[in-house]
């Protein structure tokens, strides 16, 4: 009896220790974010003021929306390299429409339509013709780049934008930026779709094992397409908000959103369900980047040094979870 009792107890202990470790691991990147936040709060004057925290939220809102869209793509194992130019497209289209007198709701519908169109073309190329999404969206990105610059002659569009539109990007409701509401709305919708509906479950399924999903009766083509459409749609709406924030449509304003958007998704993939793109993860990924940028700016650190420090912080933050879990992103 005793001989048997010992291992049983051990197993119990080990497993509770293990489950704590598991927990730590799942949230280690999140923990790093928390520590970073506390660090800034304690050492940097003015970091923990309401106005600065609202700044952070405002600064990350478009990035979060683009990242949330990309999360759908990643979940379905499709990469959208054209999101940056889709941000640019609607960031030009909406101001152009508004300036030429189109009412705001219609102009925003225009952004939705543009996003939908780009997503539809991408998914047609990917799921019907079978071009891998990496190549297809690289090419549509090149096409969109041309369209964005051609339609503006390369210059920024400014002036004559209605107040209602600028309010979206710059205004506040009850002391909180409108952009913050927009971000929360998008994140909640994306989270609900991905985590609580069959739609999201099947997007994860086609990404996890397309063949298995299709043999289980899932319409692979539909869900891969849907993921690409969501990518473009979110990017287009982020673009409309970005132009409102800048008070100006800039053909190249979206370009940074590709790499930064990917970064948020990657960082997000180290938390919550390590190795999987999740909306919550992406949100915290964006917050992570936003807090670093803002905190280091407040410290008054030189931009170039910031870039170095940012790289180092990311490495340290993901090192723990990487040491202990086999993360496969590719």
């Amino acid at each position: 009896m005793t001989a048997q009792a010992r291992p049983l107890v051990e197993a119990k202990e080990a497993s509770s220790r293990k489950s704590r470790d598991q927990w730590l691991l799942k949230y280690s990147t999140l923990l790093a974010l928390l520590l970073l936040f506390l660090g800034f709060a304690l050492t940097v004057d003015r970091f923990l003021t309401t106005s600065n925290l609202l700044n952070i939220v405002q600064q990350i809102s478009m990035l979060t929306i683009v990242g949330a869209g990309l999360t759908f793509g990643f979940a379905a194992r499709e990469m959208d390299l054209s999101v940056g130019y889709t941000v640019g497209l609607s960031g030009i289209l909406v101001p152009l429409m508004l300036i030429s007198g189109v009412p705001l709701p219609i102009a925003l519908l225009g952004a939705v339509a543009a996003g939908f169109a780009v997503g539809a073309i991408n998914s047609l190329l990917v799921t019907l013709i079978g071009i891998p999404s990496l190549i297809a969206t690289l090419a549509t990105g090149s096409i969109l780049y041309g369209i964005n610059f051609m339609s503006t002659g390369g210059r920024a569009i400014y002036g004559g934008l209605p107040d209602g539109y600028l309010f979206l990007g710059q205004g506040q409701i009850l002391g909180i930026p409108v952009l913050a509401y927009a971000m929360v709305l998008f994140v909640l919708v994306a989270w609900f779709l991905m985590e609580r509906t069959i739609f999201g479950r099947y997007i994860y399924a086609v990404g996890g094992n397309l063949k298995a999903a299709e043999l289980s009766g899932v319409n692979g083509r539909f869900y891969r397409s849907a993921a690409l459409v969501v990518c473009s749609l979110f990017a287009a709406l982020a673009g409309a908000l970005l132009a409102a924030r800048l008070g100006s449509g800039q053909p190249n304003a979206g370009e940074r959103y590709l790499l930064d958007g990917l970064a948020t998704v990657f960082i997000g993939m180290t938390m919550i369900r390590p190795g999987t793109a999740t909306v919550t993860g992406t949100f915290f990924g964006a917050l992570f980047i936003g807090v670093i940028n803002n905190g280091l700016n407040l410290v008054g650190m030189d931009t170039y040094v910031q870039s170095i420090v940012k790289g180092l912080i990311i490495l340290v933050a993901v090192a723990i979870v990487s040491r202990t879990t086999k993360l496969k992103l590719l």
Binding site: F149, G154, Y158, A253, G300, D302, T303
Partner: protein
Amino acid sequence: TNLAWVHANAAAQSEQRVKAGFDAWLKSSGKDWNVSVLDSGGSGERTASNLQDAASRGVDAIIITMADLRASRAALDAAIAAKIPIVTVDSGYVPGVLADITTNNWAMSADVSPYLLNELGGKGNIIFLRMAEHHGTRKRGDVMATILKEYPDIKVLAEHNIKYTAFFEDTTTTMQDYASRFGDRIDAVWAPWDEPAQASINALKAAGLTKVKVIGIDGHPNAIAEVCKPDGMMIATVSQPFEKMGAQAGEWIEDIVVKKEDPAKVIPSKTVYLDAPLVTKQNCKDFLPK
């Protein structure tokens, strides 16, 4: 005194020269101001974030270089709301800032463009390089386009809009292709600023086209040196007093922030144009570093 310096794109030589002029002024006047440099890497949105963060931090003054602020004036609101004095350099005046210190881009192009066309004797074939993304280069190109209308015997062989993010390589590659395509039919190259002018010269030289006349604008030291070379293909540039802009920004901030003088008395106008003389092979010696 805490100062935030916001670059639109610190990779540009002109912004570096403004900063260098400012630094030299700081040093010569013995100030120990605390200056934090924020680069926006060419992104209007980063400019906005940088300004927000600077305002959050509560700096005493902000200097912004070469951002197209009229195209993203919203960026300034946070800083203006926090009543932080702002001086901008070559960014276009927007209400709320103390002044924009700049040179007149239309005037510079109006100086150098006819000079090139006249040197060609009013006829010949040119390559017209433009760059619409930056307001200064855009204005220069627009003026050139207008002037060209008055020169019916000048033919534009090709017009190219330079890709801003990799402008040096893009210009090199494009000029190589033009050298193939037009060969010695190219008489001149109009470049919107000195660096593409230099890249064009490299490519043309490599193709054996050494008789082409090239102009640039900015008057960076390398460009001046190129103009001064007897066989240099660059025949003219415009010398922008970037260092002076930096020093001027420093002086005004000293007066207004440190000495608390009335801005209206210190600063003559909302947009302050500094002189930018034309540099040609005749007068280039005067512009060489002593």
